[in-house]
Assembly symmetry: D2
Homo-oligomer: 292 residues x 4
């Protein structure tokens, strides 16, 4: 990403109470930690507290593992559940696997951002259920795998998903991006990749769930169309929303025009959502997200 120097990022959530900020910031101050960016949020409905802190790595006399070890005690004191906090290191390069089908725009956009170093990550692999994007992927020096998904063949499809999982999991990616991947992930993959699998849906959810959302939008005569980046869950198009945006359309726009205009929104919404995810800016809270 655009982080100028190495930083450690703490994301943390627990039941709200007095003194949490004091406890965390005093802990950091005692170690000499220089906080470069800090954000807080309390959800008054659930009385839950969230924070994200960026600390300059060179301000601490130890590394990320030691920070994590020491922070464990802080988290315990504040009653945080295991899994509700994390300490990451921007010095560790993030790995991304991209799943595609036939639509090219999101993949081309992501590859362009990576090539321009705007998105400073490793794309470990691109996996397509069609072979059409092998060429451009390899031109970027990235491995491409073709995993065909047979139609009307449940067993064949299951085998394809097994192969897909193996190819993805081999990279232990920080993000699995469904860049207009047209297959619905089985529930167990959703569970295993929970919080790491991001989808781009080509509507302003919750409007127009499911297939052919631009056709649905055209039929309803809406005046804006949108796109939604969300975490994948077993409930189709129902996962926590990370980012959304819209673009204006009018009566002169055919479905084809909507598809074209919508692509520009899909690309930026997916790119923003992915960036925030990889920068550990997205904290999931039930079916909602806190974006720091």
């Amino acid at each position: 990403m655009s982080l100028p120097e190495r930083r450690y990022v703490i994301t943390f959530g627990c039941r709200d109470r007095t003194g949490i900020v004091a406890r965390i910031s005093s802990f950091l101050a005692e170690q000499g930690g220089w906080i470069v960016e800090a954000a807080y949020h309390t959800d008054p409905t659930t009385n839950w507290f969230f924070t994200r802190q960026e600390v300059r790595a060179d301000s601490l006399p130890f590394g990320v593992d030691e920070l994590r070890t020491r922070f464990t005690e802080v988290a315990r004191d504040l009653g945080a559940l295991p899994g509700s906090w994390r300490v990451t290191d921007t010095g560790e390069r993030k790995r991304v696997v991209i799943l595609v089908s036939k639509d090219k725009h999101c993949l081309y956009d992501l590859l362009g951002r990576v090539a321009a170093q705007e998105l400073d990550v490793d794309v470990s692999a691109v996996i397509g259920n069609h072979a059409g994007m092998a060429g451009i992927t390899r031109a970027h020096g990235i491995p491409f795998h073709h995993v065909p998904f047979p139609v009307n063949d449940p067993e064949g499809k299951q085998a394809a998903f097994a192969q897909l999982r193996q190819l993805v999991d081999a990279h232990e990616p920080h993000a699995v991006v469904l860049a207009r991947f047209m297959q619905i992930l089985p529930a167990e993959l959703c569970a295993d990749w929970a919080g790491r699998a991001l989808n781009i849906h080509h509507s302003f959810l919750p409007s127009f769930v499911g297939a052919r959302p631009y056709h649905q939008a055209h039929g309803r005569g809406v005046k804006l169309i949108g796109a939604t980046c969300h975490y994948v869950t077993a409930d189709l198009d129902e996962g926590p929303i990370i980012e959304q945006d819209v673009i204006r359309v009018d009566h002169a726009d055919s479905v084809t025009d909507m598809v074209r205009k919508g692509r520009d929104i899909e690309k930026v919404v997916l790119a923003r959502g992915l960036r925030w995810h990889l920068e550990d800016r997205v904290l999931v809270h039930g079916n909602q997200t806190v974006i720091f």
Copy 2:
């Protein structure tokens, strides 16, 4: 509106074929008609043609009634159905009746626009099912009627709607504006006021139909909230959409914040939709609208 000089406005729709524009524009040219603004649209799905033309009144040697009479022949030649075209006169001042409940922002906004002559119409009356807005309405020199709608009393409610209809119809308004009026109109009123009754719904339809849309939006964790101005039909929140817009929200916004931010969108969306309706810029086509 902001029309600088008197104009006649023709809105017209018929099955598409070659020569419609030539027929209409030649008819106008023969009379010396100076077209100030013209717009065309063909819906390729239904093969239907639409146009709206603004002609300077002083360029024609006769008045609006004669223009209407003469245009009848053009419309007949082109196979237009009765009711699918209109000729109006911007010299005739438009009359509007506004229905309100307890929420003040849309009424205040419309009254402010009328007072500033931005919306150059006659507000014939404001009718509220609560009395709270009598004062400001009358301060603007506009009659206010209080029509209480009893709860859990179907007969009383029916009587209230009868009274409402009488009060509204007495003005033969060009627009009946449901400015956050919290009563659902009976089907027969929807039918009688078809194409003249405009509602503002506080969500980006078709998301969050019905009650408490901001609560629904907050629960779903959307990143934008919106508002929709649409013609009222017997199907709640399903009528042809005239205008929509959205505003960004984030995790820090409570439902109360969403209600507040949403109001700014409701106001402009309603004001734009009403303006376009009164300027005869909205042509209904099935459940969609063409906005010229």
Copy 3:
């Protein structure tokens, strides 16, 4: 504003160093202070630190004066300059004076927001260099003063500004709002009201400084027009920007259309800027603002 319960708000800025957050949050935690909202920012260019904290009043065993006294020591420890921090009490109702000329839309909009309790402040007075808005102001139960500003009469103008200042200062307002007030404030008034006088300029600054910005925008053929809310300084239209927004226009829009469309942006930009100012969310840093 929409603050549900009484809160104390601390805004603070000082040279950045390690441990500021720890010092402030520990201070608050020691007193039992329950932080409801907190925001931080460090400007890397100037190495300056900013924070805003909202504390529940009922979580502290003393009042705002005692909090202010005790916080003085914290501020001194952190090397904050006098005037670079403040402690305010949302229980103290904010007072606003509005200056107007002939354009009605911003005044009507603000009065509507106050009447709907969306903006929960006291409008102490409205002062106009024309008398046209006396009626609506008084209908809202607010005093209106007419202070004519003579043309081509420097002494008369000076006297008018003296009268204006007296009328304004009598209320010791938290905000002096130039709601399309068409007089340029003298430098000494700018100085005396520094950080409290807000102007709405009808362009997207720094484009189209000065007179008739919509005419300038139309002449240049821009595709979006905007509005800017900024603090008034002695340099015309050059003060720190609080908020801006834009709306799309096209070749069919005349200057008159731009004026009308622009009003909707002016109203919301001014209303947002004023709200943030009154909620102590705006920290000025040189010629820039930090909005928490």
Copy 4:
């Protein structure tokens, strides 16, 4: 582009008078021409009339050359100046030459749109004053030319421009796209490519003309940044504006963040402007544009 069947496009401008639409539409109707899309505009300030018409090629009994010949008479009757009207054929594939420097995002974006057939044109060549984008260009099967521009060597620079012109003109392109090309074109090139050379400037013009606009924007503390696609003229950043858009920034955004966010706007603004130009939707009128 996305035109489903072959069409002839007429763009036309002349002094406004009664009967222009009738004359053009009757001419087309007499030939059996099926108008698929039509737009009109009259500029009331200059009293100038503009239109654009799309006619189905298969509805006419002759080809584009004959249509052009026959339309010449119509144009003469209406007093149109030579050069103020055109008849083009969507069946003729458009040729584009792209000029680049070091910034990759606009080139990658355009190549992606062409590869996805969203932009259905021939990129005849990419010419760079640095060699860095040879690889990706050639991976798309497009010729890349490296033309170095020496610094502090006026003669060398002149020679480079001569080479550039030769390379470009060899393709007789419909559009020369300066996709963040960092050289200022000499006046004679601006003249020769007038109405065909499109630039993307990374600010919301007329704000922040010239070098390092994001630095200028950051320094002024604006709350939105933008991009502008305009025709190149001899006056730097002063040519007719085709399209603009903006994106929100805040105090937390460094110049680097602004550069990154701005890219997303630059890409879509350039892509939209180029599409409209190639679809003959842009009519220049003095220093303004009419976009149909």
